[in-house]
C-alpha cells in the first residue's frame, strides 16, 4: 500500500507502508522464526548438555544477535531502502555487501522452498488411513515385503525411497521425480500467490501465529503420553561438562546467528517500510527475544514426543525379548511382563544359560533410545513421523505437524524473497519494456527460481540440498554480517549512527549497544568465522549416502565429495562474497575515470545532507 507522503525527508519517494505495527512485527518474527527453531535448536540442546546449553546460547543472543538485529532494523528504517540501496548510501564502495546479501537470499530461497515442498508432500500423504510410512509395501510377487524396507524401517523407506527416490551417490543424478516436481510447483505457487499484490501482510497473520497454536496443542498432547517425562528430564537436566568444549560456543553463536535471519537483507527491506519515527530498538529486542523464546518453547513438545518414542521403542524391544523367552520355555502367556522381566531373565539365565544365549536377545536400554537424536530433515521426516504412528489419531497429529512446518517455512520464504525482490527493484534490473501490470517482474522471478530449484527434485537432489545448506547458508552470511557491522560502526561512524537513532527513537543508544557494535560483536563474529572455517577445513568433506547395496545397510555410507562437486561447494561459498571486493574495485575504477553521472541514480546523496531540505522551500 504505497503512501504518497511528501513528508519523507528522503525526497518523497513512494514506498509501500505497513498497515499497522503488528503486521511489521509479525512479518519480522515470521521471518526469524523458521524451521531451524523447531528442528535444530532442540537437537543442539540435547547433545550439548540439556539446560546448560542455554548459557552459551543466551550469551550469544545478548552480545551478538541483538546488536546485529538492532543495527539492521535501524539502518533499514533510517535510509529507507532495500539492502543494496542502503549499503550504497553508506559508502559506494560497500555496495557489494548488498549484492552479496541478494545472492545469498537467492540461493537460500532455492533450497528452502524445496524443503517446504517436502513438507507439502508429507502433508498430502497424511490424509490416508493407515499412514503410508507405517507399513512396508509388498514386493512384486507378493511373497514378502520390499527388502529395502525390511532391512531399514518403513519410515526410512518412505523418506528415502518414496519421497526422495534417492540415488546411491552424488555422481548418479537420477531423473526428475514427478511427484516432487508437482509438490515443488505447489510450494512455489503458494509463495507466488502470497507475494503478488503485496497481499503478503494478510497471510502473515496466519503463518506467523499458527505455529504457536500447534506447538501448544502438541505440548498439551505430548505431556499426556507415556514416556514424555523421561524425554523432558533428559532434555533439561543440565550438564555443565560439555561447556568446556569450544565447539559448544561455536554452535551456540552460529545457531543464534542463522536463527535470527540477519545478513539476508530481508530485515532491512522490512524495516524500510516503516515510518522513520518508529522505535526500532524495542522492535529489535522484541523480535530477538521472541525468536529465542520460541526455540525454547518448541523444544518442550518435541522432546516430550521424543521421550514417548524412546519409551515405545523400549517397550517394543522388551516385548520382543519377552515373547522369545515365553516361547522357548513354554511359560504361561503374559507371566513375564515389562515390570518383572529382569527377575525372570536372571532366573532363566541362571538355570538355562545356554538356551537363553541361543535366543540372541536384544539389549534394551531406555537411555540408548533416548540418545538416538536427529536434527533437520531427519527429525521431522524420520523421527517425528515414527513417533506420530504410535500416537492415537495419527492422521490428525501428522496433519497438524506438517501444517505447522509449512507455515514456518512459508513465513521465512517471505523474508527470503523480500531480500531478492527489493534489491532487484533498486538495481532496476527489470527491463523497461516489461509491462508493470500482471506483476510480470515477480512472476518471472518466481518462475525462474522454480525452474532452477528443479535440481533438487532429481534423484540426487537431497545431496545437493545439503551442499547448498552447508556452503551457502553459513560462511557467506558470517562474512556479510561482519562487513555490515564494520561498515556501520566504523565507516558510517558510530557518532552519526547514534544521531540517527536519536532522531528515530528519541534517545541515544546506551553504552551497551555502542560497546557491542564497536568491539564485542565484530570480535565475536570474527572469532566465530575463523573457528567455523577452521573446523570445516579440518574434516575432509564427506556426505552420508543412502545405498541399499551397502554392506552395512541400513547405516548410511560415508562417501567423500567428488572433486567437481567440491569445486562447486567452494564456488557457492565464494561467489556471494566475491561481490564485495568486486563492486569496490568497480567503483574505484569508475571514480578514477571520473564517470559518476550514472552513479547518482544508484548512489543517493548522503541522507544527512537531505535533512536540510524542507518541502516549503
Amino acid at each position: 500500500m504505497p503512501e504518497e507522503g511528501m513528508e519523507n525527508s528522503k525526497g518523497g519517494e513512494e514506498r509501500p507502508k505497513w498497515n499497522n505495527k503488528a503486521e511489521y512485527l509479525l512479518t519480522c518474527i515470521g521471518f526469524a522464526v523458521g524451521l531451524g527453531n523447531v528442528w535444530r535448536f532442540p537437537y543442539l540442546c540435547q547433545i550439548y548438555g540439556g539446560g546448560a546449553f542455554l548459557i552459551p546460547y543466551l550469551i550469544a543472543l545478548v552480545f551478538q544477535g541483538l546488536p546485529l538485529l538492532y543495527l539492521e532494523l535501524a539502518i533499514g528504517q533510517r535510509l529507507r531502502m532495500g539492502s543494496i540501496g542502503v549499503w550504497n548510501s553508506i559508502s559506494p564502495y560497500l555496495g557489494g555487501v548488498g549484492v552479496a546479501s541478494m545472492v545469498v537470499s537467492l540461493c537460500v530461497s532455492l533450497f528452502y522452498n524445496t524443503i517446504v515442498a517436502w513438507v507439502l508432500w508429507y502433508l498430502f500423504n497424511s490424509f490416508q488411513e493407515p499412514l503410508p510410512w507405517s507399513q512396508c509395501p509388498l514386493n512384486h510377487n507378493n511373497t514378502g515385503y520390499v527388502e529395502e524396507c525390511v532391512e531399514s524401517t518403513p519410515v526410512n523407506y518412505f523418506w528415502y525411497r518414496k519421497t526422495l527416490n534417492i540415488t546411491p551417490n552424488m555422481e548418479t543424478s537420477g531423473s526428475l521425480q514427478w511427484w516432487m516436481v508437482v509438490s515443488l510447483a505447489t510450494a512455489w505457487s503458494i509463495v507466488y500467490i502470497c507475494f503478488i499484490r503485496g497481499s503478503r501482510p494478510s497471510a502473515v497473520y496466519v503463518t506467523a501465529t499458527f505455529p504457536y497454536l500447534v506447538l501448544t496443542i502438541f505440548l498439551v498432547r505430548a505431556l499426556t503420553l507415556p514416556g514424555s517425562s523421561e524425554g523432558l528430564i533428559y532434555l533439561f537436566t543440565p550438564d555443565v561438562r560439555p561447556l568446556s568444549n569450544p565447539q559448544v560456543w561455536l554452535d551456540a553463536a552460529t545457531q543464534i546467528f542463522f536463527s535470527l535471519s540477519v545478513a539476508f537483507g530481508g530485515l532491512i527491506s522490512f524495516s524500510s517500510y516503516n515510518s522513520q519515527k518508529n522505535n526500532c530498538e524495542r522492535d529489535a529486542v522484541l523480535v530477538g527475544v521472541i525468536n529465542s523464546a520460541t526455540s525454547i518453547y518448541a523444544s518442550i513438545p518435541i522432546f516430550a514426543i521424543l521421550g514417548f518414542k524412546a519409551h515405545t521403542n523400549y517397550v517394543t524391544c522388551l516385548n520382543g525379548n519377552i515373547l522369545a523367552l515365553t516361547n522357548e520355555f513354554d511359560i504361561s502367556d503374559m507371566n513375564i511382563t515389562v515390570e518383572n522381566y529382569e527377575q525372570w531373565f536372571d532366573s532363566l539365565n541362571g538355570t538355562h544359560p545356554s538356551r537363553v544365549s541361543d535366543l540372541n536377545l536384544k539389549t534394551c536400554d531406555l537411555q540408548t533410545f533416548l540418545d538416538q537424536s536427529a536434527s533437520g530433515t531427519g527429525l521431522a521426516f524420520i523421527v517425528f513421523t515414527e513417533a506420530v504412528i504410535s500416537m492415537p489419531g495419527s492422521q490428525v497429529w501428522a496433519v497438524l505437524f506438517f501444517i505447522m512446518l509449512f507455515s514456518l517455512g512459508l513465513s521465512s520464504m517471505f523474508g527470503n524473497l523480500e531480500g531478492v525482490l527489493t534489491p532487484l527493484h533498486d538495481l532496476k534490473l527489470v527491463p523497461k519494456w516489461m509491462p508493470n501490470e500482471l506483476f510480470t517482474g515477480k512472476t518471472l522471478i518466481c518462475l525462474v527460481l522454480f525452474l532452477v530449484s528443479l535440481i533438487f527434485t532429481l534423484g540426487s537432489g537431497n545431496y545437493w540440498l545439503e551442499i547448498f545448506n552447508s556452503y551457502v547458508g553459513s560462511v557467506p552470511l558470517l562474512i556479510i554480517a561482519f562487513f555490515e557491522i564494520i561498515a556501520v560502526a566504523y565507516i558510517y561512524g558510530i557518532g552519526r549512527f547514534s544521531d540517527d537513532l536519536e532522531f528515530m527513537t528519541g534517545h541515544r543508544p546506551n553504552i551497551f549497544w555502542k560497546v557491542c557494535w564497536l568491539v564485542i560483536s565484530p570480535l565475536m563474529l570474527f572469532v566465530v568465522l575463523v573457528a567455523y572455517v577452521a573446523v570445516q577445513a579440518q574434516t575432509h568433506p564427506t556426505y552420508p549416502a543412502w545405498n541399499p547395496d551397502y554392506v552395512n545397510f541400513p547405516d548410511t555410507e560415508v562417501l567423500p565429495y567428488p572433486d567437481w562437486v567440491f569445486a562447486i561447494c567452494v564456488l557457492l561459498s565464494s561467489v556471494p562474497v566475491i561481490f564485495i571486493p568486486l563492486v569496490a574495485i568497480y567503483r574505484l575504477i569508475c571514480c578514477m575515470s571520473g564517470r559518476h553521472s550514472e552513479d547518482r541514480l544508484h548512489n543517493d546523496p548522503n541522507p544527512y545532507a537531505n535533512e536540510g531540505y524542507v518541502v516549503e522551500s
Binding site: 525526497g11 498430502f124 500467490i193 503374559m334 527489493t422 527493484h425
Partner: protein, 234 residues
C-alpha cells in the same frame, strides 16, 4: 464275554493308539501356540477342556471344507502335549482309517488362507484361517500354527492415491486465487485508466511523478520519482 473283552480292549486301545500317533515333532503334526492374554488382555478367557473341544471342532470344520467328500469329526483331531504356554501338538487322522494320518501338506492347505484383501473376501479356502481365528477371538499372530506362515496383510491400494486428491484440491484453490487476483488487478487498472482519461488535470501532476507511478496496485516500489525532477521544477 469275549466280545466284552474285545470291546474293552478296543475302547482302551484306540485312544492309546491315537495317542501314539500324536507326538511332539510328529512328522505329520503341527504345533499350535495360543496367546490369549496378549490378544484380549483383561477379557481373556481361560483355556480349558471346552476350548480344546472347540479347537478340535474348528479343525474338523476346516478339514470338511477342504475335503468336501469326507466327513471329519472331533475324534479325528488328536491333541497332545499341552503346555502352560498354551501350546500343543495336533494330528489329523482320516475318518475312514483311524491309523492313517493326513499328510502335513493337506492339513496346511486346509488351514491356511490364500492371500486376501482386507476385509476377508469369501474365497473358498481362504476363509478357513479367518474363521478359525474368529472362533477364538484371536489373530494370526496370537493363534500360531508353527510352520504355516500367516498370510501377509496386503496394504490397501486405492485406485487414486489419496495424496493426489489433496494436491488437486490445494492446487485448484491456488490457481483460482491467482487468476482472481490477476483479473481483479486488470479490472482495477482499466478503471484507473478511464479515470485518468476523464480527468486531464491530473496528467501534469502525474507526469511529475513519472508515468510508471500510475499503477501502484502491486505494491512494487517505484523509483520513478527522482530528485532531479524536483530540482528542475524549482
Amino acid at each position: 464275554m469275549l466280545v466284552r473283552i474285545l470291546v474293552l480292549l478296543y475302547l482302551v486301545g484306540a485312544p492309546a493308539l491315537a495317542q501314539t500317533l500324536c507326538q511332539p515333532n510328529a512328522s505329520n503334526g503341527y504345533r499350535v501356540r495360543i496367546s490369549i492374554k496378549t490378544a484380549l488382555g483383561n477379557q481373556a478367557y481361560e483355556w480349558n477342556e471346552n476350548e480344546m473341544f472347540l479347537f478340535q471342532a474348528t479343525m474338523a470344520f476346516a478339514m470338511r471344507r477342504y475335503y468336501k467328500t469326507e466327513t471329519y469329526n472331533v475324534d479325528n483331531i488328536i491333541v497332545c502335549n499341552q503346555t502352560r504356554r498354551v501350546s500343543f501338538w495336533f494330528v489329523v487322522i482320516s475318518p475312514e482309517n483311524p491309523t492313517m494320518l493326513i499328510p502335513k501338506a493337506d492339513v496346511e492347505k486346509a488351514v491356511s488362507a490364500l492371500t486376501t484383501r482386507l476385509p476377508c473376501r469369501p474365497m473358498s479356502n481362504s476363509m478357513s484361517r479367518h474363521r478359525i481365528n474368529n472362533a477364538f477371538l484371536l489373530t494370526d499372530r496370537t493363534l500360531e500354527f508353527l510352520g504355516i506362515h500367516p498370510t501377509l496383510a496386503e496394504p490397501v491400494n486405492p485406485d487414486t492415491p489419496p495424496w493426489l486428491i489433496v494436491f488437486g484440491v490445494v492446487i485448484g484453490a491456488v490457481f483460482a486465487g491467482i487468476i482472481a487476483l490477476l483479473v481483479s488487478s486488470l479490472l482495477q487498472k482499466r478503471r484507473k485508466e478511464k479515470g485518468m482519461m476523464e480527468d486531464g488535470q491530473d496528467e501534469e501532476d502525474r507526469q511529475m511523478k513519472g508515468v510508471e507511478n500510475g499503477i501502484n496496485l502491486d505494491g512494487i516500489y517505484n523509483r520513478g520519482f527522482t530528485d532531479d525532477d524536483r530540482f528542475t521544477k524549482l
